[in-house]
């Protein structure tokens, strides 16, 4: 068991800054997920923790040791790769025991540790097989098993489920959550899939362009994104954004207008004066929108997707902007129909022009 702490950690390749000063504290036993779009530096950050990439600046501590200059094997970590990285010419047993084999561990110890890992992952029957005889999910299990055998302080996962098909991904996700519960180990997990992030994490770190955007629990991020990037990244379907203008404001609230919506008032107090005359971006999640005869949004249906439990309707607003509305599964709706949509005032997220959340 170990905590992980990054202080002003940087990475640059020549003049190209990849990680631009990251501070993250991961508590002992926590499941922390790094999430962000491709190229945001999340994998690089994980590989820096693993010791597979040099750290250009800052300090990285695992447990209470600074490990900047330690080789991977001395960092008390184990890593599970997206490509599984299991050795193709070895049986499952040999793969699991690999670390012990090269450390010349006695056979008794090897057998015991392999048996334990196999039991945890319920793959005793696979031990004598070769990777080519395993399915994708089983290979991933072997990779996780190899990590378990190391008994590391920190488990590192680099997009471990990306190569699996959708159904298997859901299964493995639940198994990982269970594994975390059973082992109680610190886990750092990189994914670009926000569903994985939301379902698995105690703590999510949203990264973009080498900078930490927000750190928080899944629901904090969902309900209270600190900027437009996080708001747009977390939640599916994506949050709808509208440009708008604050016309006037008083103690009762703000009068708001925008190119895509009818003028309406928002009962937002306290910040009224500061915001009058400002251009803002309003974000509303598709699931917070509902059909309403006097709603401020009016548009033509351009696409209807019936998912059974819900119906996703894409609207084209009067100015051509597209909006996604998540409605009841039974909603009857036709392409070309005109709908009016509203939203509860307390579900509105306001962002300033620089993208930061409006503090109220």
């Amino acid at each position: 068991m170990a905590s992980v702490s990054l202080k002003n950690v940087r990475k640059n390749y020549g003049a190209a800054d990849i990680i631009k000063g990251v501070d993250i504290d991961i508590a002992d036993g926590e499941f922390c997920v790094f999430v962000g779009p491709s190229g945001c530096g999340k994998s690089t950050l994980l590989r820096m923790i693993a010791g597979l990439e040099d750290i250009s600046g800052g300090t990285l501590s695992i447990g209470d040791r600074v490990v900047n200059d330690l080789p991977p094997k001395d960092r008390s970590i184990a890593m599970v790769f997206q490509s599984y990285a299991i050795f193709p010419h070895m049986t499952v047993r040999e793969n699991l025991a690999f670390g012990l084999t090269i450390a010349n561990a006695p056979k008794v110890e090897k057998d015991a540790k392999v048996a334990e890992a196999a039991r945890i992952l319920q793959m005793e029957h696979l031990l004598e097989r070769r990777p080519s005889q395993l399915s994708g999910g089983q290979r991933q299990r072997v990779a996780i098993g190899r990590a378990i055998v190391r008994k590391p302080g920190v488990f590192l996962f680099d997009e471990p489920l990306s190569n699996l098909d959708a159904a298997l991904r859901v299964d493995m996700r639940m198994e990982l959550a269970k594994l975390h519960n059973d082992l109680g180990a610190t886990m750092v997990y990189v994914t670009h899939d926000q569903v994985e992030a939301m379902t698995l994490a105690d703590k999510i770190v949203v990264l973009n362009a080498g900078i930490v955007q927000q750190v928080g629990s899944p629901l904090e991020l969902y309900h209270c994104p600190v900027n437009k990037f996080v708001a747009g990244f977390i939640g599916s379907p994506k949050m709808n954004f509208f440009d708008l203008m604050v016309e006037s404001g008083d103690d009762a609230g703000l009068r708001i207008s925008g190119p895509a919506l009818q003028e309406f008032s928002l009962p937002l107090t306290g910040a009224a004066e500061r915001l009058v005359g400002k251009k803002l971006t309003m974000g509303v999640r598709p699931h917070d929108l509902y059909l309403s005869g006097d709603g401020p949004l009016k548009g033509t249906v351009i696409l209807v997707e019936h998912l059974g439990n819900e119906t996703l309707v894409s609207l084209s607003l009067t100015n051509g902007q597209a909006v996604i509305v998540a409605l009841d599964g039974d909603t009857e709706c036709r392409v070309g129909q005109t709908l009016k949509v509203g939203f509860p005032a307390n579900k509105v997220h306001l962002f300033e022009e620089n993208g930061n959340r409006v503090a109220v």
Binding site: A50, K73, M79, Q82, F87, H89
Partner: protein, 357 residues
Amino acid sequence: MASKFTRSNSTGWLMAGPAAVLMGLFIVLPFLFAIGLSFTNQRLISPNPTQFVGLSNYSQLLGVGLLTLEPERNEAGDVVRAEDGAVSYPALRGYTRNNPDYPQLDGMREWFSFSLGESRTYVLARDVVFAKAVVNTIIFVLVVAPVQGGLALVLALLINQKLRGINVFRAIYFMPVVVSIVVVSLLWRFIYDGQSGLLNNLLSALTFGAFPRIDWLGNPSTALGAIIAMSIWQAVGFHMVIWLSGLQTISPSLYEAAAIEGASKWQTFRYVTWPGLRNTAVLVLIVITMQAFALFAQIDVMTSGGPLDSTQTIVFQAVERGYGKQDISGGSTISVILFVFVLAISLLQRWLTREKK
């Protein structure tokens, strides 16, 4: 949907056509000819009609015999010795020339001999030059295959790194492959020169003149070694590139996984790199073996099989006989023997290096 190319057989044949015709004309057909000719007494140019001679070409080439002789004894039964103490034996030709008691040895000559106790055993060959050629070729293959393959692997490992200017090294190591073997052989003849050759000068400079000058190609004990060294140097770059391609198919994440498990450099090679190169190794080994069996150009340019037949090789003999002596059936027979030989060894190598389930 299958494209037109994969569905249409005629298009495929049309595309393979030119290459197939050329290969058929210049490889398959001559090869079938060679098999046919090896059973005749065909000469390159001859007024006499060709006759079928069965397997006599083969028995002529491959015929070997053993003869153990007791020392000559005087009337008292003592071994007759020459003045320097050497035991004297009856003359061989008494047995191999028109001796009705030893018809199977008729026409054979001494290949080599050894003593067991007082008696002396002679290994006889009907065609001693060919026998030497076979032995030389096998020595060449046995040395070149592992050394060239191993050296190529070492070079490949060295240049399989992300270093500035690594392509320069790749180019340098590959350069001898691009140069014609005939040119390379000519250059190395100068290097090996007995008087002012580069190698002699270098060795003498390094040892302050203590190293005696050697006529590398003119000395029966060094000639084959010199040709082996030069041949290894010439083609090592080619096999380096094959190894390199094999190395680059190994997923980098396997190396990372090994690093996380704490594998040393040697352990990484032993458990990750080498197993990942299994198929490449089989390919390299078979290709080197086949190329080594075909050793010809170096011999032709550098030594012509000499000195004292110490660098005779199978292919050189095939060419020498077929065209030099105009004995085209003899040359064909050598080619067929070589083919069977190489095929057998390749199959054996494949079997030895198969993946064990």
